[in-house]
């Protein structure tokens, strides 16, 4: 029995199915991120766990107890809102102490705990301030402190970093991870940002159109996406269509127009039959420029169509005639060699077979 179990959860809003038969087990003390494009149902799942939304069908169990119909105030679950939802007429102290006050904690206990919480989020001495006297990043941390202060069984975070600028987002992301490590509170974190999703959680759930696409460790999800959506959503890759062929233990995919263009060696997959249609995903960082010094498998040639210089790497858009498609290659230039290519240059590209994701279907 997992700590938190979502069992065949569905939610309909009129004709719209926001969540479609999602089952998810979350272990105690783990940090789980749910990622997906906006409208994929991740926020609805979060609100169902808190009790602000009632699922149309399915069950939510916390420590084995069915809490599906329990009102929010009878659950012991903290929620960090996207726009923080701090109480503007209350001081930072009263905001953070609210959960404790509602549980009838003594004033001494409130004072003690709020102090502890504010120290944890590095906001000592903010007790008497009002939320509108605090910056966005500070408000965000107050919201986290408020959601954790009353010792909830579970803390949920709904895109808590999306209203912050990039630098702040990175530093608070690290801080959230640290807070979760310190407190050990089970955390479910919802985001549409793939960087947050990959770096924050012990486990990553990818959602699309109300359905759970994949649920696994972030590395596994990134390395072995189980569906074309996941492969496309995490990281940047070029999708190429072709057919799968199996011969003497080696698997190949014939790509390009009429399957005649290009043949790449791909990882063998027993689930795909010889001659099936497949989608091949070529990740931009797994595609390497080939300088021709040593022979490589899976090499193909193209012409640079566009160059996007981004500092730490260069994005080459290379048109490959054999595929009749433009692929994206992320190249980390080395100052020792002058390997900077320009629009119109010829380029050779290779990719290791292990780095190719080959999935059935188009």
């Amino acid at each position: 029995m997992a700590f938190l179990e979502l069992d065949a959860l569905s939610k309909q809003f009129g004709d719209l199915t926001a969540v479609d038969d999602v089952s998810l087990d979350i272990e105690e003390g783990s940090f789980v991120t749910i990622v997906g494009p906006s409208g994929c149902g991740k926020t609805t799942i979060l609100r169902s766990i808190t009790g602000l939304e009632t699922p149309s069908s399915g069950e939510i169990r916390l420590q084995g107890e069915d809490i599906t119909e329990l009102p929010p105030y009878r659950r012991n679950i903290g929620l960090v809102f996207q726009d923080y939802a701090l109480f503007p007429h209350k001081t930072v102290f009263d905001n953070v102490a609210f959960g404790l006050k509602m549980r009838g904690a003594s004033e001494e206990r409130q004072r003690e705990r709020v102090e502890e919480m504010l120290e944890m989020v590095n906001l000592e001495g903010y007790e008497e301030k009002y939320p509108n006297e605090c910056s966005g990043g500070e408000q965000q941390r107050i919201a986290v402190a408020r959601a954790i202060a009353f010792d909830p069984d579970l803390v949920l975070m709904d895109e808590p970093l999306s209203n912050l600028d990039k630098n702040l987002r990175n530093s608070i992301r690290t801080e959230l991870r640290r807070i979760q490590n310190e407190t050990g509170v089970t955390t479910v974190y919802v985001t549409h940002n793939q960087n947050e999703a990959l770096s924050l959680g012990d486990k990553l759930a990818v959602m699309n159109n109300g359905e759970l696409e994949q649920y696994d460790a972030p590395e596994t999800v990134y390395r072995n996406p189980s569906s074309p959506f996941v492969a496309d959503f995490l990281g940047r890759s070029t999708q190429v269509h072709g057919t799968y062929h199996r011969q003497n233990g080696t698997a190949t995919a014939r790509l390009g127009p009429a399957d005649s263009g290009l043949e790449l060696t791909v990882p063998p997959n027993d689930d795909i039959a010889d001659g099936d249609e497949v989608s091949v995903f070529l990740r931009d960082e797994k595609l390497k420029l080939h300088d021709g010094s040593q022979p490589r498998d899976n090499t193909f040639a193209g012409v640079i169509e566009d160059v996007d210089y981004r500092g730490r790497d260069v994005n080459y858009f290379i048109h490959v005639p054999e595929l009749d498609q433009t692929i994206q290659v992320s190249h980390i230039p080395d100052n020792a060699s002058s390997d900077f290519l320009d629009v119109g240059d010829d380029a050779q590209v290779y990719i290791l077979p292990e780095n190719i994701t080959c999935l059935e279907g188009r």
Partner: protein, 302 residues
């Protein structure tokens, strides 16, 4: 045409850059209106209140404090002001619960009907006040709607004497002033982010505690302005006591009108107006002080 346009623009901009022009445009015009419409009439009333009443009702500009002395010694006028203030308090006390519940409902409701209901709240102001007041006579008089209904149901055997009493005036004032309570409460409630209430619930607040801790304190500004509007307008009401009130109803505004128009004693009427003005100003001062005090206590506590 385009050249003259492009020249006029910068010229206008240059003009508006002048300090004098800017002063006249921004605080200047406002100050002028305040002076013309508020300070000047008040000054005239103050001056007249210290003048002597002429033999034929004319104002003789000889300085005297006789008008104020007459007020100080005239117990009946004290009682009238007290009666007016009591009527104001009663009407405000009635309008507050009705107006708050209606304003709260409108502020929190998400139905498409909200705009229709808000329209209905304001709709009665399309009808002149005097006509709305007369309408109450039809409802409340001895053979009016309410009495006919109660008689028909057998609830009473003789018609109730509501019309031309304190009660009819209070009812009329309360109902007609309700929008002044509903609208500020509606505005203050509707600006509260719903997520704050959700947050309170996830933190363990029941619906009622979420209301008490989150919604109610943030709707206080609406209550304060609603109370101010309703109290000031009802205590100084003129038409409602005149048309709906009875012979025993004495409110300050109709009395001042009588002294002005029937007694032709302008200086004394002016003195009465000034005294009433000062009483209201003092009460407002106390009220706002008290509200500030409450806020200070509220945030200082816990």
């Amino acid at each position: 045409m385009s050249t003259s346009d492009s020249r006029l623009g910068p010229m206008f901009d240059d003009l508006m850059e002048h300090d004098l022009a800017r002063f006249l445009a921004a605080p200047g015009s406002g100050l002028i209106w305040i002076f013309l419409f508020l300070v000047l009439p008040m000054t005239v009333i103050v001056v007249i209140s210290f003048a002597t009443n002429g033999e034929y009702g004319n104002v003789v500009y000889e300085f005297t404090t006789a008008n104020y002395q007459r007020f100080v010694n005239g117990q009946v006028y004290h009682q009238i002001i007290v009666d007016s203030l009591i009527a104001g308090v009663v009407v405000t006390g009635l309008a507050l619960p009705f107006g708050y519940t209606a304003g709260y409902f409108l502020g929190r409701s998400k139905t498409d009907w909200k705009w229709v209901l808000l329209g209905l709240v304001v709709l009665q102001y399309w009808v002149p006040f005097i006509i709305r007041t007369y309408a109450w006579i039809i409802v409340l008089s001895n053979n009016g709607l309410i009495n006919q209904l109660l008689l028909g149901l057998g609830a009473i055997s003789n018609p109730l004497d509501i019309m031309y009493t304190q009660y009819s005036m209070i009812i009329g004032l309360t109902v007609s002033l309700l929008p002044f309570m509903i609208l500020p409460v509606y505005v203050s409630v509707s600006t509260i982010d719903e997520d704050q209430i959700h947050a309170a619930k996830t933190l363990g607040a029941t619906d009622f505690r979420a209301f008490r801790e989150i919604t109610f304190p943030q709707s206080l500004p609406g209550i304060v302005s609603g109370v101010l509007f309703v109290f000031i307008i009802s205590a100084g009401a003129f038409l409602a006591p005149t048309l709906l009130g009875g012979p025993k109803t004495r409110m300050i505004a109709p009395v001042i009108e009588t002294v002005f128009m029937i007694d032709f004693n302008w200086p004394f009427a002016a003195a009465l107006s000034i005294v009433y003005f000062l009483v209201i100003a003092f009460l407002l001062y106390l009220f706002t002080r008290r509200v500030d005090l409450e806020e200070a206590l509220d945030t200082g506590a816990v």
